[in-house]
């Protein structure tokens, strides 16, 4: 009897321990509760205090002592005695604050999310592998490792991250690992490549070749050119150098381009949000109060936590630089040193092509190219799931690149196979660009640094203490014949392939223009006399004009003026369209909430401020209007892309009887006025419903409902925020995207002054006060004044804690 009782009791105890020591999936995953809740090692240990104490660490591979001073917002100021130690310490400190994020982002890049969350992520993972993300990262790694400087920089950075990973036990693991019940693996140089390629995917995957091909087939060339003109003529180009492009462009033997005539029934590919973009500008000393240039940058990205940026100050005998870094890549990406400052915005340009492939047979071992059957390469991709099971996928590669869609993956017509040519697959050495920019002294150094840069193409703004300002649109751009790259291409002929790239010195750039400022906001890169054909998914039409208008009209500029411009909520799009829209309404006939809406819109000052209700009514109206106009393009298949809002407004103004204004489902024939009235009623109804549900007035920030989301989409680690602005507005904050880093640098001879802020915090730990301490400041439009010093002693007054790293013998 006793033995049975003891046995049962022991069995229950051990069973309970086993259950609580492992993660389970009962509909939703539960962490290993015993480990997780253990107040000695579990999640409790991730709760941190505001006050952080000094620390000492022994690091294998370190050559000399490194001093890291944390300032009051946890920005690390690293003082190292040589560059290897500097990048090792950067890797170490970044991992210390952001390890989970770094690994998660590179797992996502490599298509390995299923290992963490399970089979639900398989489709995403396969998509990543099939786009050749790992292939791209491997190519990029090869060029990094071929350059001695880049190689030692990346090696040191990786060593630093691994030194931190090796120091971890369960207690010190980031809380996300504890929640999901897994552990970090060793960092590799490849992961640095994966991170950079993930950025390339976010920024340089814009294309609509398939949609344009379908549009060509359905609407014909004439209508297509009206709907999607190459040059909308809307914007103020980044570089206006009309008639002065003094070089001989590379000319390709001009074969007439055969336009495809087919409908492709592939599903529309995942698209980056149109709200992803950026602003940057620099004003010369002639326009500023101090007489020194001021440079500003705010990249607009999806707003997540932990934030995409990590602010860092790197100091060694060869460099003294500060700014935003990407956790997972060494050096500073957007920042300043003692002599120069630089920043980036995305350069809109079509850097993707799809080639229709003719395989010999279903085995896909050979494909036709100029009459010859060439062998394909097949990559077998293995996917591991969280539960230990695995899945194998075969990706076929041609010399163009991989064939992402086929009968096993999102393809539904086995004859339609398209190879994916993407600039980010090519070997590239961005890391050298940032190494050199971080050490740049003048405009010449900036130019030489950018010569190494190929992808993702960016508009690099520049300013120096010596007084120069400049802009250069840098990337590796294929030389294109007119209209090439807009549609699907014939993969059986090599004549359709990229033959040459625009030489670096012929890229769009200028220095010290007479208007005394340079700026970019994802608009058309150059005036139309630029001798190369330029095409992209779309170019920004509004922000750029507002920025240039403001920069042209203000003088005696202070850093505060430019912070105000970064936070400018003026809605140029609304100012240009709303009066026209309202003129179609007969205000005497409007009743009830429609009459109220009319009044709110009529009296609106076009600012998308936090409290504005006019902004909400305008946005609701637009969201009803655009799908009503482009209802011809609503179906999932064939995939089509709407013309830009700018063009849509032009059609309303110039072609009110355009056939697209007719709503397909109705017997009547509608014109612009009809659908404006109809969408007005719809938009007002949406707001009425919103008001009823939320029981409050539709103030813009409430209606927009800004959301900064944890990378795991874990609500408890995410925040709703109230902030003004919107896409197409200088303060480009839409619900999920916005200025991910705001930087203002005044390049004064007496010493650089710099301010910055981002919507997040330096710590990636949701249990740290520094996880989101910068978010409210960002939301209120405030900036943090950076401490930029050349030695740890000078940090005394602004330091919070010191972390001293010494070599481990």
């Amino acid at each position: 009897m006793k033995i049975i009782k003891v046995g049962v009791s022991a069995f229950v105890t051990i069973g309970l321990i086993y259950f609580l020591n492992n993660s389970w999936n009962v509909g939703s995953p539960i962490p290993p509760l015993g480990k997780f809740l253990d107040p000695f090692h579990g999640f409790w240990k991730n709760a941190e205090n505001v006050k952080i104490g000094d620390e000492v660490g022994q690091i294998p591979g370190l050559k000399e002592r490194v001093v890291i001073v944390y300032d009051s917002v946890l920005i690390p100021h690293i003082y190292a005695q040589n560059d290897d130690d500097l990048y090792l310490a950067q890797g170490y400190i970044t991992a210390k604050n952001r390890l989970w994020q770094m690994e998660f982002q590179t797992h996502a890049g490599a298509g390995r999310v299923s290992e963490i969350v399970g089979e639900a992520a398989l489709d995403f993972d396969r998509g990543q592998r099939r786009l050749g993300m790992v292939y791209a990262a491997e190519n990029s790694l090869k060029s990094m490792e071929a350059d001695p400087v880049a190689n030692s920089m990346v090696n040191a950075y990786t060593r630093g991250i691994n030194a931190y990973i090796q120091s971890l036990d369960y207690e010190s693991l980031p809380v996300e690992y504890k929640l999901l019940g897994y552990k970090p693996e060793s960092w590799t140089n490849l992961k640095c490549g994966l991170l950079l390629k993930s950025m390339a995917k976010t920024l340089n995957l814009g294309e609509k070749d398939l949609e344009m091909t379908n549009a060509l087939h359905l609407f014909g060339k004439e209508t297509l050119d009206i709907l999607y003109p190459d040059y909308e003529g809307a914007s103020d180009p980044i570089v206006d150098n009309a008639g002065n492009w003094k070089f001989t462009p590379i000319a390709l033997d001009s074969l007439p381009l055969a336009l495809p005539d087919e409908l492709v029934s592939l599903p529309p590919r995942e698209k980056s949000s149109p709200d992803i973009g950026s602003n940057n500008w620099a004003v010369s000393g002639k326009k500023t109060k101090t007489g020194s240039p001021i440079l500003c940058n705010d990249p607009h990205l999806e707003l997540n936590l932990p934030s995409i940026w990590y602010v860092i100050h790197l100091n060694s005998p060869t460099v003294n630089v500060m700014g935003a870094s990407l956790p997972g890549a060494p050096a500073v990406i957007s920042g300043f040193n003692d002599s120069i400052a630089w920043g980036v915005t995305n350069a809109q340009r079509d850097l993707v092509d799809w080639y229709k492939i003719k395989f010999k047979d279903a085995a896909k071992n050979e494909y036709l190219s100029d009459g010859v059957w060439k062998p394909t390469k097949k990559a077998v991709e293995k996917f591991l799931f969280k539960n230990g099971e695995s899945f194998y996928d075969t990706v076929v590669y041609t010399h163009h690149g991989p064939v992402p869609y086929d009968e096993t993956y999102h393809g539904d017509d086995e004859k339609n196979h398209f190879a994916f040519r993407w600039i980010a697959h090519d070997p590239s050495e961005e890391i050298i660009t940032f190494y050199k920019l971080n050490r740049g002294k003048n405009h010449e150094d900036y130019q030489r640094a950018l010569d190494h840069y190929s992808s993702p193409a960016q508009n690099f703004v520049f300013a120096s203490v010596s007084g120069d300002i400049a802009m250069r649109i840098q990337g590796k751009y294929p030389v294109r014949r007119k209209e090439e790259g807009k549609f699907l291409l014939d993969g059986t002929k090599t004549s359709t392939e990229w033959k040459a790239f625009i030489p670096n010195e012929q890229n769009v750039m200028h220095k010290n223009p007479t208007r005394e400022f340079v700026s970019s906001a994802n608009q058309y890169p150059a005036d139309i006399t630029y001798p190369y054909y330029v095409t992209a998914t779309s170019f920004e039409d509004y922000r750029n004009r507002r920025i240039n208008q403001r920069l042209a009209e203000i003088n005696d500029i202070t850093p505060q003026d430019l912070m105000d411009l970064q936070l400018d909520n003026y809605n140029l799009k609304a100012a240009e369209s709303l009066p026209l829209f309202l003129s179609y309404l007969d205000s005497t006939q409007l009743k009830g909430s429609e009459a109220v809406a009319y009044q709110k819109l009529k009296s609106w000052n076009y600012y998308n401020s936090v409290e504005s209700e006019g902004a909400s009514y305008y946005e609701a109206w637009l969201r009803a209007l655009l799908p009503m106009i482009w209802d011809e393009m609503a179906a999932e298949k064939p995939a089509l892309d709407w013309p830009t809002t700018y063009m849509t407004f032009r059609f309303i103004k110039e072609k009110p009887d355009f056939s697209f204004f007719d709503i397909q489902g109705t017997p009547e024939k509608e014109n612009a006025g009809d659908i404006i009235r109809k969408s007005f009623s719809e938009g007002v109804a949406v707001i009425d419903k919103w008001k009823e549900e939320k029981k409050k007035d539709p103030a813009w920030a409430d209606y927009k409902d800004g959301y900064v989301q944890h990378l795991l989409r874990q609500e408890a680690f995410s925040y709703h925020i109230k902030h003004g602005g919107n896409g197409s507005i200088v303060n480009a904050h839409s619900r999920r995207n916005g200025p991910s880093w705001r930087m203002v640098v005044s390049l004064e001879k007496s010493g650089i002054k710099a301010w910055g802020i981002y919507p997040g915090g330096q710590s990636g730990n949701p249990g740290s006060p520094y996880y989101n301490n910068l978010l409210p400041l960002w939301t209120e439009g405030k900036y943090f004044s950076f401490h930029f010093t050349s030695s740890p002693e000078l940090m005394q007054t602004s330091k919070m804690a010191t972390l001293t790293l010494t070599p481990k013998k």
Partner: protein, 109 residues
Amino acid sequence: MKFVYQVIITAVGAFVLQTFLPWWTGTIVAAGVGYYIGNNGLLSFFGGFLGIGLLWLGMALFIDVSTQSILTEKINRILPLNSILLTTLVGGLVGGFAALTGALLSKKQ
């Protein structure tokens, strides 16, 4: 009195062991104390439950208060039960069953 001893000795022993070793090592203490003190089954269960449960509760409360609930609030939104309560329950249950096993083993029959 033996009950109070059981609770205190379990808590102190588990505190020492768990500071250095994984979470489940507290059960060894609870089982050992249950065996030597030799309370009857039900009492021993509660002794072990309170020993580990109160220890975990105390530790969790201390962290919660000293960090102004910064993480507790967030984890509460993820877990189906309040995390302090759940921590106490999980520690208590494991401690209770371990102590019960120890007590049953020590019974002379």
